[in-house]
């Protein structure tokens, strides 16, 4: 079936079997490999993308259902000139080790901070309950999200994806 959707502001379409998940569609049909395949059952969160302003596990959503919607993936956060404040804070604090959870962590953080840039530490932890990291112990991830929230609430975004 032909699936047409908006990814990171660009209209994209590809032909895929109906049983294709949004994750597989992004990775194997659109070659956007930022969202990762981890547990494939909605527990680990490394496949997190934002669909119409709401974070979802793209391994649990069919591409067919995402048709016509607006998808933001990790690839939509940075461009050649500028990285997103959340990415900058993760880099600054060394928040990631192996990095496999990173795209999902950052998309969950964006989903939170877009709505609530002054989120408290308990709110940040709650927002990350669907993102597993086996390296870091989460401490620097949470600190980076706090820092990014401060930046995002005090500066004007540079372009629509930021």
């Amino acid at each position: 079936m032909l699936v047409e959707l908006t990814v990171n502001g660009e209209l994209k379409s590809a032909d895929c079997p109906p049983e294709t998940t949004l994750l597989k569609f992004l990775r194997e049909h659109l070659m956007l490999t930022g969202a990762k395949l981890g547990c494939d059952v909605g527990d680990c969160g490394t496949c997190t993308v934002i669909v119409d302003g709401k974070s979802v596990n793209s391994c649990l959503m069919l591409a067919a259902r995402a048709a016509g919607r607006d998808i933001t993936t990790i690839e939509g956060l940075a461009n050649a000139q500028q990285v997103h404040p959340i990415q900058e804070a993760f880099e600054e604090l060394g928040s990631l080790q192996c990095g496999f959870c990173g795209p999902g962590m950052i998309m969950s953080a964006k989903n939170l901070l877009d709505k609530n840039p002054t989120a408290s530490r308990p709110e940040i932890k709650d927002a990350l309950s669907g993102n597993l990291c086996r390296c870091t112990g989460y401490t620097k991830i949470i600190e980076a999200i706090e820092d990014a929230g401060r930046v995002m609430s005090s500066t004007k975004p540079l372009h629509s994806n930021l």
């Binding site: 079936m1 079997p17 109906p18 049983e19 998940t21 494939d40 059952v41 909605g42 527990d43 969160g45 997190t48 669909v51 709401k54 974070s55 979802v56 596990n57 391994c59 649990l60 959503m61 069919l62 067919a64 259902r65 969950s108 989903n111 939170l112 709650d126 927002a127 309950s129 669907g130 993102n131």
Partner: protein, 289 residues
């Protein structure tokens, strides 16, 4: 996943017709947080997915003069963000908040949680104590039933072949009723309930308990109304002694099992403590209002 066809009908009638035409090989797709996982591991004979998540009749939260109608395809994220739920049914928001994580709550629906029909369903106790009813639709029209009657056995609802859960309804009389929900899992996030429970009650001007409701999950084959504990509480003073005795009665009504998550003995202890806590919290809210 094994190949299947996918159709997203645009009306309830169309969905009902698709189910009738395709029989057992068609499955309804709601949020997909259970079904898609299931299809990856146990595809069975599924040849068609009927995606009802955007069917207008199954969508939306609507307040009428009779009460609040929750379309079965309302997501937990939508319930948590609804000012109506936050203000008049906060225990339902608390229940929704304990389900999965942000990403799964943005997909998962209350109707899906009901139809999956596991004893630990976290969205059930907090609406059960508000005297919720459900509306199901099928080839022969629609019918209503109390929410307790919808859950028949583990993974078996009162839906007849070809029927769909259209909506959940909270009567006006229950809006703003002092209520509380609690869940105990092995972790704070993304855990199945070992025990969950909710209470709702009013206090009359003399401080006596009126229309008490107590519901418990994961303690019996289906979510359970603790009717004996409710009957004991009705008309009594809301004292700690009364609540402690009601909790003992609730323990005797439950039929918890031993499994790899917890022993029945441990669950009984949690039932007692949780019953005390949800009742005390409901009383506290009632006294403040």
């Amino acid at each position: 996943m094994r190949p299947f066809e996918y159709i997203a009908p645009s009306s309830a009638q169309e969905a009902i017709a698709l189910l009738a035409e395709n029989g057992e090989n068609a499955r309804l797709l709601a949020g997909g947080t259970d079904l898609i996982v299931d299809l990856k591991h146990n595809p069975g004979n599924t040849s068609l997915l009927v995606d009802v998540s955007s069917v207008p009749e199954f969508r939306g939260i609507e307040e009428t003069s009779e009460g609040v109608r929750i379309g079965s395809m309302t997501t937990f994220g939508e319930i948590m963000a609804s000012p109506l739920f936050q203000q008049k049914m906060p225990a339902v928001v608390d229940g929704a908040h304990t389900i999965g994580a942000v990403q799964t709550r943005n997909l998962g629906t209350m109707g899906g949680n009901f139809v999956t029909c596991v004893p630990s369903a976290d969205s059930v106790p907090s609406v059960m104590v508000l005297d919720a009813t459900v509306t199901v639709v099928g080839p022969d029209g629609s019918r209503q039933m109390p929410v307790e009657d919808f859950f028949v056995a583990p993974r078996k609802t009162a839906l007849e072949s070809g029927e769909l859960l259209e909506s959940i309804f909270i009567p006006k009389a229950s809006l703003g009723k002092p209520s509380a929900f609690l869940k105990h899992g092995l972790r704070k996030g993304q855990a199945l309930a070992l025990v969950n429970g909710a209470a709702a009650l009013w206090l009359d001007k003399d401080g006596k308990i009126v229309e008490p409701r107590l519901a418990l999950g994961a303690v019996a084959p289906v979510p359970l109304r603790a009717v004996k504990a409710e009957a004991f509480l009705a008309g009594k003073e809301a004292s700690d002694e009364v609540i402690d005795e009601a909790a003992e009665i609730a323990v005797s009504e439950a039929r918890p099992i031993d499994d790899f998550r917890a022993s029945a003995k441990y669950r009984r202890q949690i039932i007692k403590v949780f019953t005390q806590r949800v009742l005390k919290e409901s009383v506290r809210i009632a006294r403040e209002s």
